[in-house]
């Protein structure tokens, strides 16, 4: 057990280091550097030299990598070019906002997904399942910005229930932020629900067809008890790691959803940083989102390991 945990944590650390190397070398391999990208057409002669001097770009790449990585370990993500401020300062509040958005979507989406997915699995191929599954496939097929726009059209433009864009500032208290974030949370949880619901559904179908459920049925165990005592725990265990993986989507989707609703989070900051061609900032956000993904996945895997004794004996 302890060995398994160590191995899992070790591979997470490896992934984190690998991501840092990839993010850094992606930019190294590209023609030009942070200064040519930032200065654009003015990027020649002394302006370029000065900029490179200031950003300390004149040294060999490995040296800069270790300085950057060392800084990240100490909580210093570098300096933004456009904003002329430490990135840690810029990112802080927005990181909180993105986590608030994602957490709200997960807290609403996951229970609904488990509930609906469970019912769909139990009543497989009945009208209820067909309707819910079709809606889920629709929700996960159309792009995030289209579902977001549809929600705006319906709930903001037509019904006028809530604002189409987030008006709260990036330093707003969490409750105030959430109050103006109904539609972004709804968009994210809709898609999140669709993904997890499908997984839970197929997992329930698997378990319902297993020998121990058949045995329980033949033994005459009441249906209610079979469902609650046997099927529910056994079908939710595999879903845990899937929920972890869905976070990958959530983080990519956050970039788009935040932009649609003008939500002051990391995703929109990334988009702004790209259009400002602020490479150090893009780099830092990519690393941060990668780290969040790895940590969530690690947590999900460890949770599954604790809850599911079978994983401890199998080679996971």
């Amino acid at each position: 057990m302890l060995r398994l945990i160590f191995r899992r944590v070790g591979s997470a650390l490896f992934t984190l280091v690998f991501i840092a190397v990839v993010v850094f070398s992606c930019l190294e391999l590209m023609p030009g550097d942070a200064c040519t990208a930032f200065l654009g057409r003015e990027g020649k002669g002394t302006a370029l030299e000065n900029c490179r001097e200031r950003m300390r770009l004149n040294r060999p790449a490995p040296e800069r990598f270790f300085e950057w990585a060392g800084g990240v370990l100490k909580g210093d993500l570098g300096t933004s070019m456009q904003r002329q401020k430490p990135i840690t300062e810029i990112v802080g509040w927005r990181l909180r906002n993105t986590v608030v958005l994602a957490a709200a979507a997960a807290m609403i989406g996951i229970p609904i997904a488990i509930f609906l997915g469970f019912l769909c699995g139990l009543y497989r191929d009945r009208p209820f399942d067909l309707a819910v599954s079709a809606t889920a496939i629709f929700a996960m097929t159309i792009p995030e910005f289209v579902s977001a726009t549809i929600l705006i059209l319906v709930f903001s433009v037509t019904l006028g229930w809530t604002a189409g864009v987030v008006t709260a500032g990036y330093k707003a208290p969490i409750l105030q932020l959430l109050a103006s974030t109904v539609l972004p949370v709804a968009t994210l949880s809709l898609i999140l629900t669709a993904h997890i619901l499908r997984m839970v559904r197929s997992s329930v179908i698997d378990v319902m067809g297993s020998d121990f459920v058949l045995m329980a049925r033949l033994k005459g165990v009441p249906f209610r008890q079979i469902v609650l005592r046997h099927v529910l725990p056994n079908s939710l265990l595999p879903a845990i790691s899937v929920i972890g993986l869905t976070v990958a989507w959530l983080l990519g989707g956050v970039v788009i959803v935040e932009s649609v609703f003008n939500y002051p989070g990391l995703g929109r900051l990334a988009v702004d940083a790209v259009s400002d061609r602020d490479l150090p900032l893009v780099q830092a956000i990519a690393l941060l989102l990668g780290a969040i993904y790895i940590i969530t996945n690690l947590a999900a895997d460890l949770l599954a390991l604790f809850l599911n004794p079978r994983l401890r004996t199998h080679r996971a």
Binding site: T15, A37, T141, A286
Partner: protein
Amino acid sequence: MNGLAIMRDLVSRPSGAIGLGIVLFHIIIAVIGPAIAPYDYADQDVDAILQAPSAAHWFGTDRLGRDVFTRTLLGGREAMMISTASTIIALVWGAALGIVVALVGGRLDEMVMRCADALMSIPWILIVMIFVAALGTGTTALVPVLGFSYGLSVIYLARSAALDFVTRDFILAARARGERRRTIIFQELLPNVRDSLAVQGAMQWSWIILAVSSLSFLGMGVAPPAPDWGLMISDARGVMASAPWTAIWPMLALSSLIIGLNLAVDSLAKVLGVDRVQRSPVP
């Protein structure tokens, strides 16, 4: 099964026929679009800004007085072209690497898959954004970048499809005969994983179309004034309350193409007997 038999089987299924019909419709529109478009896509009619659908402008006009019908007709062309090129790149390098590591196994397999795992944990959009930030926007840069990042999931698929066969007797026999690795890959493995790759390729095509539209929506893909669904939807955001038609038509076009593709791919997978259909780019 030859191509004709697959096709016949595909259209005999309702969802296959509908899906294929929608996709073909879109492809035909993309091809003949320039010929049947009533206006120029960039023509701005200052006297007809944000007009509701009428006989002159079937789908209305946008905030610059451009014809929404024309722009919707032409809006999928660039995304489809980029997606086709990127899908080919993704399939080629993903399948090559996946099959080779499945066959060689051991250290190489372990190393490649670890790296792929790590790369997959960066959301694709961030990989693309890093490149766009460094190279600037432009659709030519998008093709290799999307081809690379979407090739990652092909590696997994090709590897697991090939692993089903590498332990079979016919591969063992080929190895015992002393066949070269290249021969085993091209003569023995590739024909067996072809169906899985075809299904995956069709799925990838739809994801990359989505990716291009999303990037255009964010202002990192197709550059204005070129018509693109993602760009049109992004343009429509400010005027949605007064002119919802500027958003509805491109959304309908994009969604119908993606849904049609999904229906067609699902049926294709059933026809070919492939059970590994990845529903989303998330593993």
